[in-house]
């Protein structure tokens, strides 16, 4: 097992490599890919493609193929979610900080940001992207799941050694382990140490959206960290967390994110999808 830190989360690689050397080689392969993607798409780093786009101030930016594929994907999600999944909503973080405090931003502050939000206001014609001045994109909502799938693809190419890649709870496997025939994964409940559910994963991926520790609370009302980009306010009655199992981590992650954005109807939405899911509400 190898552990490292990336994308603000603990990352781990479990392998059944025959030797220490093989295990280290696979860990390096996976970690290098994780760090490559983090460097390329993190909105916190200077000089990368996201930084270029966000600093363009209304100018058109021509992007590489990988970025174009991610933007295409974001575009599909925007329309599938009727505008609820929006990579331009990151600017709301300027006013919302979900740290368990009672700091709820003022109505005016939120309203001031709304003109900067809306993928529909952007002009995307691969490979060229034009945002309105002041608009920003944030690929964080896709990045972790995409990275897991990329790492899995590389590990599969590297050989038949069974591997599991876990980026802060979003995970996927290259296949079943030989020794025990399935990976056992606990989906954490909200009370520490208690397993809500245990899964045996032989193929595919799991992703979880939601973090019960990220909220603000004021006047007896708790605001979840899931923001509606159309209003700038947290989605009402969103589940505490949603876990989805799917063929790829990207699919699992997007379904869990979309479910969170559905708020009170998250379960109804998930029930209509064919994927297995676990929805938790108790705060």
């Amino acid at each position: 097992m190898a552990r490292f830190q990336a994308m603000g989360s603990p990352c781990e690689l479990l392998t059944e490599a025959p030797s220490e050397v093989d295990a280290r080689a696979l860990a390096t392969l996976a970690a290098d890919e994780v760090w490559r993607i983090e460097d390329k798409f993190s909105r916190y780093l200077e000089g990368n493609v996201v930084n270029h786009i966000n600093a363009a101030n209304g100018a058109t930016v021509r992007v590489d193929q990988e970025t174009a594929q991610l933007l295409d994907f974001a575009n599909v999600l925007f329309s599938l979610s009727d505008g609820l999944f929006d990579i331009t909503s990151g600017v709301l973080r300027r006013v919302w900080t979900f740290d368990g405090s009672d700091r709820v931003p003022g109505v005016a502050a939120i309203k001031d940001l709304l003109p900067l939000i809306g993928w529909g206001r952007a002009s995307w014609q691969a490979p060229e992207l034009t945002l309105l001045p002041g608009m920003e994109i944030d690929l964080g909502g896709i990045g972790k799941e995409y990275t897991v799938d990329r790492a899995i693809a590389l590990l599969r190419e590297a050989g038949p050694t069974p591997c599991l890649v876990n980026l802060g709870g979003d995970l996927a496997v290259t296949g079943p382990p030989r020794r025990s025939r399935s990976w056992t994964i606990g989906i954490e409940a909200l009370e520490a140490g208690q397993a809500e559910a245990m899964l045996r994963l032989r193929q595919g991926a799991l992703a979880t959206s939601g973090d019960a520790r990220r909220y603000v609370e004021k006047d007896g009302r708790r605001y979840s960290h899931v923001l509606n980009p159309k209003t700038g306010w947290p989605v009402a009655d969103a589940p505490a967390s949603v876990t989805v199992a799917a063929d790829t981590c990207t699919q699992a992650g997007m379904l869990s994110t979309l479910a969170m954005l559905k708020g009170a109807s998250a379960e109804a939405f998930l029930d209509e999808q064919s994927e297995q899911h676990w929805c938790r509400r108790s705060f």
């Binding site: 994907f73 599938l80 079943p176 020794r179 056992t184 245990m198 997007m254 379904l255």
Partner: protein, 438 residues
């Protein structure tokens, strides 16, 4: 139309993900939620012929699984026992009268019939609990307790076990210890060994009621995975019992040294006391057992051959051998047959006596309990297992048990050799099990 649209999201996402990841073919997810609760319930009937012991036993084992392979197992067993067991007295050509263990009544055994004590009737409740968890990557511990209660007996035990895997998990060494304290509160009080069975109402030889017994067990084991098909196991165990090891309800007949007939006595009135001389048994107050157990499990395409042998020896000079073979034979994906054959043989305890001679010096210890005698036993059975519509395991097991005992040469006196002093015991065992998970 929102519903239709939502339904298509999953498919649209799959297409978009494929485009993003550049993979045309993805492997389908295979995730299965592990049941957290496992219930194993069974109903067992055990019935000896000739209206001896009948037991109806209901058992439930509940296991709760937690993450990281930790588990808690609790079992509850309720036994309802009825019937009679040999009192230890020998057959006579005349009727015999016995005082009941309670000391309040007497009963008559007809001429030529093996004396059985039919006050044997009880309900037993047993509870066990066990916590199991790994320590690090290769070790495991478990701790447990056991308690059982019947109207004259209370048992309380604690146990712990540690095991460690070596050699890429192909070898497992384990060590375990258990301690137990049992309290015996015999009906009518515990009689002083070798005192006579007395008339109704006379309790002068039963001064004590509650007696204790302590048991210590130590077990050391090794399991070796030899190949994908063969797993071998060997255990050594040591058990030490000390305290009250008598059976307070068992007696020996005092017989004439020439004829072998039991000495008659005169009771004060009809059905007011024993018609013959019987004395209560007396056993050593400690016992040490050593046993060696070996097992081989051989797997071949779903079929499993499970063979084991146990050798036990103790300082009462009982040596026993047990050979047990089971073969699991799958009939289809969800049905199997499992024939079972068990052979058991033991030598008698060094203080086993069919009877005691009147006037001869008393031995230090003596018991005519048939379970301390020399006997062979065979169990033959068949189990049929299947899965029901909800994928839960069911099974039905039917077994026959036959015990064939013999009295050591030299213990038969006079007419005793004309009688069957150790009749065969036959029993039928039927068990229905139902296992389900949640």
């Amino acid at each position: 139309m929102a519903v239709t649209k939502d339904k298509s999201i999953s498919a649209a996402l799959a297409t978009a993900s494929c485009a993003l990841l550049g993979t045309g073919v993805t492997t389908a997810v295979d995730a299965q939620e592990v049941p957290k609760w496992d219930f194993n319930t069974s109903l067992l009937y055990y019935g000896e012929d000739e209206s001896r012991v009948q037991d109806l036993s209901l058992r439930a084992i509940v296991r709760r699984l937690f993450v990281d392979d930790r588990s808690l197992t609790v079992s509850l067993t309720v036994d309802s026992l009825t019937g009679a067991t040999p009192s230890g007295a020998i057959r006579q050509d005349v009727p015999q009268t016995f005082t009941r263990p309670s000391g309040n009544a007497a009963y008559v055994v007809p001429a030529g019939v093996l004396p059985l004590d039919d006050t044997f009737l009880d309900t037993r409740v047993a509870l066990t609990g066990n916590w199991q968890q790994p320590i690090g990557e290769t070790s495991q511990v478990n701790f447990g307790f056991s308690a059982s209660n019947e109207y004259d007996y209370f048992h309380l035990g604690l146990n712990g076990r540690f095991s460690k895997d070596f050699n890429q998990r192909n070898t497992t060494l384990s060590a375990g210890i258990s301690i137990a304290q049992d309290e015996f509160d015999p009906e009518g009080g515990a009689p002083i060994p070798f005192t006579s069975m007395l008339d109704i109402g006379d309790t002068s030889n039963r001064p004590q009621s509650q007696r204790d017994k302590d048991v210590l067990d130590v077990i050391l084991g090794v399991t070796q995975v030899v190949s994908r098909k063969l797993v071998l196991q060997a255990n050594y165990s040591y058990a030490s019992e000390s305290g009250y090891l008598n059976n307070p309800y068992k007696v020996l007949s005092i017989v004439d040294g020439t004829t072998g007939d039991t000495i008659q006595r005169v009771a004060p009135g009809p059905l007011s006391g024993p018609s013959h001389e019987f004395v209560f048994e007396g056993r050593p107050d400690d016992r040490a057992k050593h046993s060696l157990y070996t097992q081989a499990k051989y797997y071949m395409d779903g079929k499993v051959l499970d063979a084991s042998y146990r050798y036990m020896t103790d300082d009462w000079d009982i040596d026993s051998h047990t050979l047990d073979v089971r073969y699991r034979w799958p009939l289809s994906d969800d049905k199997y047959l499992e024939p079972h054959l068990r052979w058991y043989s033991q030598s008698e305890a060094n203080f086993y006596r069919l009877s005691l001679v009147d006037g001869a010096p008393l031995p230090a210890f003596a018991s005519s309990d048939y379970r301390l005698g020399k006997f062979d036993a065979i169990t033959a059975g068949l189990k049929f297992g299947w899965k029901n519509r909800n994928d839960n395991d069911m099974s039905l097991r039917i077994e026959w048990y036959q015990q064939m005992g013999s009295i050591p040469a030299g213990q038969l006196i006079g007419k005793q050799s004309l009688r069957d002093n150790y009749p065969d015991l036959n029993a039928l065992i039927v068990q229905f099990s139902y296992r389900f998970s949640k």
